[in-house]
Symmetry: C3
């Protein structure tokens, strides 16, 4: 594996999930593999799980880790070429990226959608500059349009908890007070399309995701109907994608909140969410604290997804 930016960097979803589950049995088995290899983690946005789990994963492999919070202990970066840099931005990304690449073997980058330009977001302007100019393998630690480390952890979790070969997985939109990127749902859909689970997406009208990701997946606008017989409920908020409302909150309809009543429609489904989650907006206290909530094991698998990806990348250096 050279980079890890999307499902397209994975030869087989089925295989990598199996390898991850195998690695999880003995996560210190390859603690010499990363000797004298350095992971540099660059955060343009805040992070809890990704920050901790990716560091832990790298250390499991014996790698060195350097964490850099852009906007903390560093200056602002110019991203446009041709600008006369006489303002508040001290350095250009075109210098900063190759420089960062100098001091490491692998770069992880977190850079969310900014909702300023749909084109810039969906072209992964920042992430792709790292790929192009850093000279090193790049791991997405959530970019504008995808969050593949999350999705891989999600799939590992479903494999661990499923009790039939082809469970029904329902991804449901749920309300949230602020505009959130589509990276997690896009990524989830993209990977689900490479599995043979039964997969349904449910959301209010106006919240359609990019067709590029959704493809032929069944969309059911009636949440109750979608939830029928579900084995896994994957809740997530996202802002509108359609051009005219791109990056906007067009509904905060709390009838979409995942409640005990909603879960009663399912086949005693497991509840999943990538976290952080707004309680009593996305999901009620009761559901997230229930026996069927697997949000913590799902988060714990972030260490495993990061570790299998790092392992494949450094094996290929």
């Amino acid at each position: 594996m050279r980079n890890f930016l999307s499902v397209n960097d994975v030869e087989s979803v089925d295989s990598i999930v199996k390898e991850a589950l195998e690695l999880k049995k003995d996560r210190y088995r390859f603690s010499e593999l990363g000797r004298n290899k350095t992971l540099l983690m660059i955060f343009f946005n805040s992070s809890l799980r990704t920050r901790l789990s990716t560091q832990k994963a790298a250390m499991n492999l014996g790698m060195n880790v350097i964490v850099l919070d852009v906007n903390a202990g560093m200056w602002k970066l110019e991203t446009e070429r041709g600008v006369i840099m006489d303002g508040d931005k001290t350095e250009h990304l075109l210098e900063a990226i190759p420089v960062m690449g100098c001091y490491c073997d692998v770069i992880g980058v977190r850079s969310f959608a900014r909702f300023e330009s749909k084109e810039d977001d969906y072209n992964e302007k920042i992430l792709n500059q790292f790929v192009k100019y850093s000279g090193k393998p790049v791991i997405s630690m959530e970019a504008a349009t995808r969050h593949p480390l999350q999705t891989l952890a999600d799939l590992i979790t479903i494999e661990e908890y499923k009790d039939k070969p082809r469970p029904k997985v329902v991804m449901s939109w749920a309300p949230h007070p602020k505009a959130l990127p589509q990276a997690v749902p896009n990524s989830f859909v993209e990977w689900m399309n490479r599995t043979d689970y039964e997969f349904v997406i449910t959301h209010p009208h106006g919240y359609e995701l990019s067709e590029e990701f959704v493809g032929n997946v069944r969309i059911e606008y009636d949440q109750d109907k979608a939830l029928e017989g579900a084995d896994f409920v994957y809740a997530k908020n996202w802002a509108a994608y359609a051009d005219e409302n791109y990056g906007k909150v067009i509904s905060k309809d709390t009838s979409w909140t995942i409640s005990t009543e909603k879960m009663a429609l399912t086949n005693n489904a497991y509840f999943m969410h990538c976290l952080p989650v707004r309680r009593n907006m996305i999901v009620t206290d009761d559901v997230i604290e229930s026996e069927r909530s697997i949000v913590i094991p799902e988060a714990a698998n972030r260490e495993i997804s990061a570790q299998i990806v790092l392992k494949k990348i450094i094996e290929n250096l």
Copy 2:
């Protein structure tokens, strides 16, 4: 040792101080013990000594360390159950804590008294949620009511410097411009009660600490009288504890500042303070820079207290 939250987690104060002094002679002796063990340090408040000394201690044992500053590179955490999270708090502590626990073997937590609710502070609301929900051993890196790593370092220091079996130790309140928690004095008193030193507390009326901590310790309201014959002067400011003034500064009386004149009343006492210290409020320049000031060796022993605690915890994993 499972957790390290107070003196109650220590079998014998005398023994752990002796073990610490032994460890100090060769602090790299157990540098393989922490292999593939990760300490996660969570800071809800600022830190210099604790941040550096605890990292150093963990690395002496060969542990991996991850540092997380909540409020920097992370979002705000909700602490109340039942809230509809439609405001500025992105994640609930009830998810964040078990998630943090996923990626480490031991958690260190710094969370000061907030002085918003005496009950919340003295119930150690935040620290106890880490104990309850993280699934991992928890080390207090100063909580609302105690700072046991500091006190253990203080006791190691007294053992190193004392020149009689039963020295007289005087803990004196001293003025400070802002309201400070009672964690350091509470902890100092709690541990001193498990030693056989002669121990006296002196402070102005109205600065009485919790009886739960003080027990039968002699309180002397006349500072000069208290200092007579002292072998160690342990200076510290704290805000009022009594209900009606909880968390308030009720005196800035600089006649309580530890000066050369005050030290002249003692038995050529050593001067101690946990640092950071406000010069010419708590103590004069002359005293803190004198030959009898042992604030730096005291700070240096923070590495040793943290290391002996971490050693005992990881031996028990």
Copy 3:
């Protein structure tokens, strides 16, 4: 080597550059040398290259690294003696420095000129307190008047790229919107005076550097004339040094920007800059992106300069 504060800590510039180039061939050769040695990096100012390259260098040697951003996760420090500390500064540098020294084997310090007092800046008030009070070897990670890790990397780079024994190196002032310290140009001049390169400084009238650093170096006020036959163009902005204008921007004359036309005057010179660089102020997009721009290899050599310095210091512990 005890400290690394200026060229005066180096026995021979020629030798250390040669040793650095040798080390670069196998940077993991001494990965056991730093075992149980800890580098503490203290940042009073922002950093990208220094932060990453120095960490990487220390890890190449097997050292542990602790990074401390003063002003982030720490309180403000008082620097004056005799002050009654009843304001917003929580700790005195006279305690903080020896405390920091307790928890490490080597201290790196970044502390820029503040342009508040020329005397304080040129006496290296902050850096010298670390030397005096930390009890540990100190590495300048850019102080008020010098940036020797940068200059050593610059010299390593020139040695790698020069194609004649005695290349002509031209250091040229260039415009910048804000007042920048003289540390980089001072240091560059100071080291160049210990080489036998042909060296010329060019800048507008009023931008004369300290004579203490410049000595007998040729100063050419006509930039075009200075650039004639140059093999290396080392661009840099700095604020005025002269007493009456100390720390001020007295020109933003963009006729001094290094452009393709300016480079055409040289002997097909390499373009160098320490970074971060303001594009289209200091240098045009075309020049910095040209084949002859070596700013990235120059930055990459920051790892090597830091590593050879750390190696010499820990060999001497």
